[in-house]
Symmetry: D2
Subunit: 348 residues, 4 copies
Amino acid sequence: MSTRRFETPDPELDLLYRDLADQDLQPLWELKGLLTPTPTVRSVPHRWTAKELRALGERAGHLVPIDRGGDRRVLACANPGLDGAPYAVSTLWAAAQYLGPHEVAPAHRHTPAALRFVLEGTGVWTLVDGDPLAMSAGDLILTPSWSFHEHHNTADQPMLWMDVLDLPMVAALEAVFFEEGPSEEVERLTATVSDSERRYGNPGLLPPPGLRARPRHSPLLAYRWADTDLALSRRLDATGAEFATLAYVDPTRGTDVMPTMRCEAHRVRGGSRSPLVRQTGSRIATVFRGSGVAVVGEHRFDVAPGDILAIPSWTPWRLEAHDPLDVFSTSDAPVLDALGLYREEELS
Amino acid sequence: MSTRRFETPDPELDLLYRDLADQDLQPLWELKGLLTPTPTVRSVPHRWTAKELRALGERAGHLVPIDRGGDRRVLACANPGLDGAPYAVSTLWAAAQYLGPHEVAPAHRHTPAALRFVLEGTGVWTLVDGDPLAMSAGDLILTPSWSFHEHHNTADQPMLWMDVLDLPMVAALEAVFFEEGPSEEVERLTATVSDSERRYGNPGLLPPPGLRARPRHSPLLAYRWADTDLALSRRLDATGAEFATLAYVDPTRGTDVMPTMRCEAHRVRGGSRSPLVRQTGSRIATVFRGSGVAVVGEHRFDVAPGDILAIPSWTPWRLEAHDPLDVFSTSDAPVLDALGLYREEELS
Amino acid sequence: MSTRRFETPDPELDLLYRDLADQDLQPLWELKGLLTPTPTVRSVPHRWTAKELRALGERAGHLVPIDRGGDRRVLACANPGLDGAPYAVSTLWAAAQYLGPHEVAPAHRHTPAALRFVLEGTGVWTLVDGDPLAMSAGDLILTPSWSFHEHHNTADQPMLWMDVLDLPMVAALEAVFFEEGPSEEVERLTATVSDSERRYGNPGLLPPPGLRARPRHSPLLAYRWADTDLALSRRLDATGAEFATLAYVDPTRGTDVMPTMRCEAHRVRGGSRSPLVRQTGSRIATVFRGSGVAVVGEHRFDVAPGDILAIPSWTPWRLEAHDPLDVFSTSDAPVLDALGLYREEELS
Amino acid sequence: MSTRRFETPDPELDLLYRDLADQDLQPLWELKGLLTPTPTVRSVPHRWTAKELRALGERAGHLVPIDRGGDRRVLACANPGLDGAPYAVSTLWAAAQYLGPHEVAPAHRHTPAALRFVLEGTGVWTLVDGDPLAMSAGDLILTPSWSFHEHHNTADQPMLWMDVLDLPMVAALEAVFFEEGPSEEVERLTATVSDSERRYGNPGLLPPPGLRARPRHSPLLAYRWADTDLALSRRLDATGAEFATLAYVDPTRGTDVMPTMRCEAHRVRGGSRSPLVRQTGSRIATVFRGSGVAVVGEHRFDVAPGDILAIPSWTPWRLEAHDPLDVFSTSDAPVLDALGLYREEELS
């Protein structure tokens, strides 16, 4: 498509506009909406229900083998505001992945980083660069940028988890690389405790500095629900508040687990609610336990375990708990932070 | 626009696809081109010539007062690969700004950060949060994110400079904020040495730690051509190479001058050339002195002072000098670096 | 004492030496031993046995009330190489502290930082700035620089622990400050889980960055033996080695727990030994479980639980385990590291 | 010397004291002066006059060849409070070094770091790891830890400079290593601009991150008086104050030039004075230009160019200028800072 040709009744100016277009130039003074008082947000608040995700995942499980055309059985959340792009919010991909009993999703790697938050099931292992990470409901599993990863289900039940990737950001930066893993059949490795957890999963204790891995992401790749559950309880005890948020961190630095995604666990006491806040940057949330309402912009979504929520940039949101409500969320906050663009406002 | 409805001759699967679309979900296995072996790059190599930029700037200077519709007389480089978007490369805005004799471009601020590289002229001051920074050919002037800035020309000649902004990135992150400056007429301040330079422009000497400003960007806002020229000569002397690159840095940290843009000065000895390299991330370059050829992908652009070049992500490029060639370039490398996505390859 | 007057048979030079001394100057060329090929080390390898420490602690418990002259019942290890200075090695104070049943050691604070490693007993609480930290055998408790701390024993048994302070370093830097706590009787607070542990003791989970304390030391002040024990087992599992070392770290940064002392836990499998190493800087070690031999320089010390060892700078040392051997050690390594003076050699 | 045996009229306690001494233990409650409300400071305020330093340096120049017993003609400042130790303050060595016309001080290296501040003369080169650094009055020259360094005088005049080393600290940490340089005669290299300055001496411009040296100290090894002079003028202009202090910094990080010594330049306008302050840590100062009074504790020292001052820890000090007064000072502040022990108070 050629460069836009602006038009104006002033003939001399119109001639200038023609010559600008010929030279692939545009007159700034005719461009509207570039520098807006507050952000122009393309994605809209949205909820995908666990009920539908599970039912559609099961149907796909019957109809679509894992090797049909791709190598993952994934239902991608497509935000209605994004003109058909398969992204849940402007900067994040979110999806439900359904892995049937004894199925295997083969190894590959890509520069977009991914995380998995397990909605239900147990008995699946994700191998990250060969290290088998057990997956069970409530666990957070990281497959950082450019690490080989595969999944296999040793159980007789399927597993449903949420995938989140920074794919829209990496694509916008034009830095997507992808590579298939080795094609030979791999051994379906399992382990009670992953190597990653043995080395980096002990509170306050690490290998000596000289023996420590220094990747760009957390060397701890699995965060267990039992730990998260206890930490949320302790946080509420320590602060006495109605609402707690904890950040999942790289234990070697205390920073976000990956450079593009901040992961957080939230707990709201039954009958209480979190403050109404808005932040620059996009967020995906999913309910793990409890029920209540997620207020996102003008919407009030009733939420149940497994529901996935799109919380667009600079959109006010809060959680209201009927029962005690546990929510996992992830956002592009580390990127906004690193670039000096993070803003946060508490509205009530 | 509604979520894309995939179709397939298999009736049961087709029904699933309909139900997925109804729920704003998409089947990953039908999506193509998401995870490509190497980056999908939208912008294309391009050159805007100084000759045209200057001529069109002058014409706009006659026809368009600075307050017509916007408050800058700016010709935006529109990369032919970007479907009419007014961006020079996928992540950066570049433009030629023309300020006539005794004109004033009034104050505003925005979260997108900007830099100015002066192509020709002298006698203009940019006020950044009130500090008057003199502008002359070869100088780099920073107007960091959210700092008020205005320009005024005290000379009888116009000035032409290149603007580069991280606007496409900040827009993609949905974090654009904008604010007009105070509307009253301001005094047209000038100063021989800016406050910024007095405090931060001395080699190897800084205010004591407790008295140092700690913004997210360099507190030194002006980099003078005389310093750059000498530093490039010294670098070639020190290494004995045919080609030198220097990074403009925040003197309080040694890091990039702003969190979103790396600025570099390049010098190629006459008759020599720089290595052919490619990097993830997008780059804008402009020639300051000398002549030669810029190889960008399949293109060989003859270049002269004031030409602006678009160097897309992962596209091989090199500089070939007829005369000694001095080039300024800026890229989104700090972002790719911070996110663990920076890759660089030397191809020859 | 006046400045040293050097003497020489050369009368003119001797006159110069007299005049130098009169002006408080010394001729470098007459000074010996200032710049030695390898470090001049004043402290010597030494072991204090648990048996003696316990017996003498008990006797002191009968004879010396806690308020006699000082406010701690502490037996300070005096290295025989240090000319009577009450320091265990050149840069560290080490001591056995004995707190009788239901005794209280009142609050004070000082710029020298301290740590406590509990050798035996349970039922004591250390309050650090009011936060009650339970103490039991194998636990590491921090009382960082300038934090108020007091100890009280709720049990019917005494407790014996090892204190280590960076006092010789802080004294050499002439930066010792000291302050008594409030004199009124305090409530003998206890708690099952300290506030510090509730907030910072959860693996891989922290308060959000904005709500995180940012002291110069670890905000986690208690490290439990059960965690250390498990982490050492996992480390041996992960590496398959005969010997494991783990660093106690600040969970918000992954750095040493305090800026002056590195804390480490070591485990040697029964019948095995650690490599013979030497490092710049001084180290204190104590055995927690098992028996064996500590080789330190020319010495072979038989060691049993509760023994305290002085390992001087640049002195080769190793651990040899009869039974599985667990050792806690602390050193001034963070200081040597920060100053660029840390060297380490493996000798076998 | 054996461990101190405390005595007491109480026979049972006296027996305990005997047994403690036998076991190399000391009763804390009998030790006095360990934890003092404010620092115990051993060194005293002192001034060594340029007149005496120069006269004695010249006499030594006639009588002592550079290879007599050592390889430097150095007059070490011995603080009267330090019991004959050849240190100017508790943690720093300071000395006047006198290098005669055409003399050479041969190469060696040591872990104690050194700096040279040139009091008078020109035409000397210090080679640091082979890079020739010109020395002239007012220049600061660094010879960082473990770098080979030698000096040679190409002029017909002698040079007098002040040496400061962190030797007392490195010795207290028992980390002194020393090595002679190669014994063969070296070429007396000179250069107008050192390699260090060519690479790192340009304001706001550095080699790209991947080509940058990353030592523990500043890679810029020479700081020229002309730059310091201009920076001090600009600082006074920028702040409008009566007194300016600037820190010499590592241009790649903005940190202190070496991990153990902070270097500062001070200027007091004629007839004005600096605030009365005290800091933890020891400081050495020397006057470069002007005259006035240095208040240090209870002392008022009249000062002239070349005088060296000892400013002990926690001792109030100020500068009073008759003429405009330029003073160079260096202190152990980076160490106190790194260890969390730095305190500063303004007293007037």
